[in-house]
Every structure is written in structure tokens, then in C-alpha cells.
């Protein structure tokens, strides 16, 4: 039924008139956005413009005040079973990594596979090791998060999300908490992921990544989408004055 409402099966995420208020604060004021299968959308904008809130509504970490969201044709409702099912299909990577500190890197990656995907221990283990290989740190399987650098922790967090075989990956400023020398190793993993055709929504201040990986750039301000375009157009010919002001600040 959701699939019928969101048109063709090409759309992975459809957001219609999303509004989210925190008390009197209007974090998101009516955002509509469609992300096609295999597309990479980068969301940029000043602090407090509602970027994180949009992302967090997609997997219902925040409950929308109003508006509708479909993920791969499934409409997000308030039903807990449905929400858990959709979350399993939507990987999320946080600015602060949020690894489970009492578990090793490997256990971080196997836990949800076992309890959510109901994979047996050997299968989960095999997949976890493959994902660690993919993000370039197979030798850190038995390390605890506290023994890893920030960049390594974030790569484990990406592996943890990928091990669930998500249909979409959401990234909320994945490199903002990293020392400069570690940013590249995380961005490289994300670029590779984009090349492999993963559908991604990325909030970031890394304009290099936006240029190279994005199919579309979305600029948000004050809870609204101000401008949306391909990277080439967006950076070469920003239409809105607010966009130009933001770009001149960030590209200085």
C-alpha cells in the first residue's frame, strides 16, 4: 500500500511534508525529499538547520510531528514492530561512533545480526569478519573500542551497520569528531560504498566528499530545504543568496 502511494519502485526514501517540533522549536518545517535507489544525497547547512532531525526521522529515532515517510515502499507508522523492522533495513552512523564499549569490535558487529536478524553465531561471525576486511581493519576484530583510534572506531561502526545488509545508510557528520589525519580513512570507506551502489544520505561538512560522491546536494536552512541540485550545478551556480553566503563561509 505504501509502495502504491510513493509511485514507482525506484524510490528508496520518500519524505513528504515532514514537520518536527521540539516544544516551541521548529526543527523541521515541511521538508519533502526523494532519494532514488543507489543515489547518494548529501545534506549541508548551518548548525541548527534541522539536518540531523531529518536524518533521525527517517529511522524514527525522532517521531515526526507530521508528514509521511516511506522507506523502500514501507510507510513509517508508530507501530513498534514496523519501526524495528524498518530500522534493521536502515543503517545509521553517528558523529560519536556509539560503539558498545563492553564488546569487542567483532561482538559489536555480530550482536544485532544475532538478536535482530537471527543469524547463528558462525554466520554472524563470518559476515562480521568480512565487513571488518571491507573497512580495512580485519586485525582489530578482538580489540575493544577503547583500544581503537577514532577513525578505526568509526570504521567499525560502519561495518556494524553494513553487516545488517541495510538498504539505506544514513551518516550524521561521520567525520566531525575525528582528528584531521583520520578523516580520509573514513571518507574512503564511504566513497567505496557509494561506488558499490549503496543508497546513502550523508550530513557532512566535507565538501570534497560532496563533490565526488553525491548525486545530489541538499542545502537546508531554518528547517527548510533552500536549494537542491547536482554537485556541479550546486557549487558552480548556487541560485539562492543564502546558499552563496553559506558556501562562501565554508569554502573560504
Amino acid at each position: 500500500m505504501g509502495a502504491a502511494a510513493n509511485g514507482n519502485g525506484q524510490d528508496m526514501i520518500v519524505i513528504r511534508n515532514l514537520v518536527k517540533r521540539f516544544g516551541h522549536v521548529e526543527a523541521v518545517n515541511g521538508v519533502s525529499l526523494t532519494v532514488a535507489r543507489g543515489q547518494v544525497v548529501v545534506i549541508i547547512g548551518p548548525s541548527g538547520s534541522g539536518k540531523s532531525t531529518v536524518l533521525r526521522c527517517i529511522n524514527h529515532l525522532e517521531t515526526p510531528t507530521s508528514g509521511e515517510i516511506w522507506v523502500d515502499g514501507m510507510k513509517l507508522t508508530h507501530n513498534h514492530k514496523d519501526i524495528n523492522a524498518i530500522r534493521a533495513e536502515v543503517g545509521m552512523v553517528f558523529q560519536q561512533f556509539n560503539l558498545f564499549p563492553h564488546l569487542t569490535a567483532l561482538e559489536n558487529i555480530t550482536l544485532a545480526q544475532k538478536v535482530v536478524r537471527r543469524r547463528d553465531a558462525r554466520e554472524a561471525d563470518r559476515i562480521a569478519r568480512a565487513q571488518l576486511e571491507r573497512v580495512g581493519i580485519p586485525e582489530k576484530a578482538d580489540a575493544y573500542p577503547g583500544q581503537l583510534s577514532g577513525g578505526q572506531q568509526q570504521r567499525v561502526a560502519i561495518a556494524r551497520a553494513l553487516a545488517m545488509n541495510p538498504k539505506v545508510m544514513l551518516f550524521d557528520e561521520p567525520t566531525s569528531a575525528l582528528d584531521p589525519e583520520m578523516i580520509k580513512e573514513v571518507l574512503d570507506v564511504m566513497l567505496e560504498l557509494a561506488r558499490e551502489g549503496m543508497t546513502m544520505v550523508v550530513v557532512t561538512h566535507e565538501m570534497g566528499f560532496a563533490r565526488n560522491a553525491a548525486n545530489e546536494i541538499v542545502f537546508m536552512d531554518k528547517g527548510l530545504i533552500v536549494e537542491q541540485n547536482t554537485p556541479d550545478e550546486f557549487f558552480a551556480n548556487p541560485r539562492e543568496s543564502r546558499t552563496r553566503a553559506f558556501l562562501s563561509q565554508i569554502l573560504r
Binding site: N59, F94, N98, M164
Partner: protein, 287 residues
Amino acid sequence: MAAVSSTSSPSSAQGNFVGRLAQLPWWLLLLVLAGVTLLYQFLTNELYTVILDKLARGIMTTIFVTLVAFSSAIVIGLIAGLGRVSKNPVIYNLATLYVQVIRGLPILVWIFYVAFVLTPAFFTLTNALGDALSPLLGADNFLSKANTQDVTLLGRAIIALAFAYGGFEAETFRAGIQSIGRGQMEAARSLGMSYFQAMRYVILPQAVRRVLPPLGNDFIAMLKDSSLVSVLGVRDITQEARLYVAASFRYPETYNTLAFVYLSMTIVLSLIVKGVEARLGKDGRGS
């Protein structure tokens, strides 16, 4: 240089000596001294041997009450603690009511209340329920036959202590759970885990590590508070001591021995708690 240091050294050495002297654990030395004196009495003074023998009869009861009541309190506390962080207003308010009542009552009063008010009230309720259900279960069903006397005073004492400490542990668990950053729950939920899966596999394992030291201290407190069951006539070591005193009027000897037994147990336990704490502190992945 050398001359200066040699002239100033006596006074500084003396300061050092006094400083070191002050740092010695004198309290422990004095305690051990008192213990050794008592031990000597146990070996040589027949009266002390007799008293120790009497108290020994209660030791199993004291240990039994402490262990059963404390393990029940942990379970009750965990459930009530989860209630205290619940977003469901009914569950939250029930858990908070329970915790506030427990915190507002002296344990002694609570023990009397459970033993002589709540337990009979509970059976009045079950009897009424049994009578109401008699068409279904028959006139003489187990519910209507159940009697307050079925629960011994020992049982009531354990129930009272378990719920009293359950209220304290609820707050310990609540604080432990709330000390784990919000991001942990969000990461777990974003992977598709349910609230209870996230609690069980992600939040609680970390929270429990943090509350282990306070739980250890509460275990020692429970051992001490188990002496309160003597007010119900339960024959723990305190009650055995009171009975002996009532017959013999040997106050100093009896209470010396009683204090010695409790102190030996609590000091050994606190050393164990300290050891566990140090070990937990060492492997720094609890953060």
C-alpha cells in the same frame, strides 16, 4: 650543599617519621588488638566459649536471611529500576510510589508493617478471591484455605527486607542505567533492536558494571540489617544473643561476642568488595 642538607635533615626526618606514623592504619591495629584479646578470651574463658556456641546456632539463619533477601532485592530492584526509567506513565508512577514509600519508612517500621499488616491483608485478599471463585474451583480451594500462618515470621522478615532493599537497589540501578549515554540506546535501536533487547544486551551490561561497588556495599549493609529480623523473634545471631542475655544477664560478654562476630564478617566482606572494585577499575573498558 652537603652541610646544609645534613643540618636540616634531623627535623625533616622527624617530620617524615611523624607523618608516616600518622599514616599507619591505626584503626585496623586497634581493631585487631581488640579481636586478639577476644580470641584469647574465647580460648581461655569458658563463658565466652559457651556464648560463642550459642550464637553459632543463629549464624546459619543470619547468612540465610542475608543471601535470600539480598538476591531477591536485586531482582526486585532491577525490575523497579527499569520501571523508574520507563516512559510508560503507569509503570513509572507505580515504581516511583514504591521507591518513595520504602525511602520514607524506617526499616524497622516497614518490617512490622509487612509482617502484621500487609501479609494478613494479602491473605484476606486471596481468601476473598478464593470465595469468589468457589463455583469454579470448589468451596475448599487453595485460595480460600490459605492462611496468614502459612507464612512463617522468618518468611515475612525475608520478604520485608527484600522489598526494603529492593527499593534502594531500584535507585542504584536507575542511576546506573541513566549514567549510560543516550547514544548507546540510539545505536542499538538504529540496528533494529527492541527496547528490551537494547536494555539486555547493551545498556544493562554496562550499567551493572558501574553499580557493582554500591551493590557490594549494600550487601554488607544487608548483613547488618538482617539483625532487625530478631524483632520478629527470628533466631538469628542477634536473637540468640538477646535470649542468652535475658537468661544470664551477661551483658558485656554476650554483646562483645556478638559485635565480634558481625565485625569479622563485615570487615572480610568489605575487603572482598574493595578487591572486586580494584579489579573492575583496572580493565578500563567500563567507560
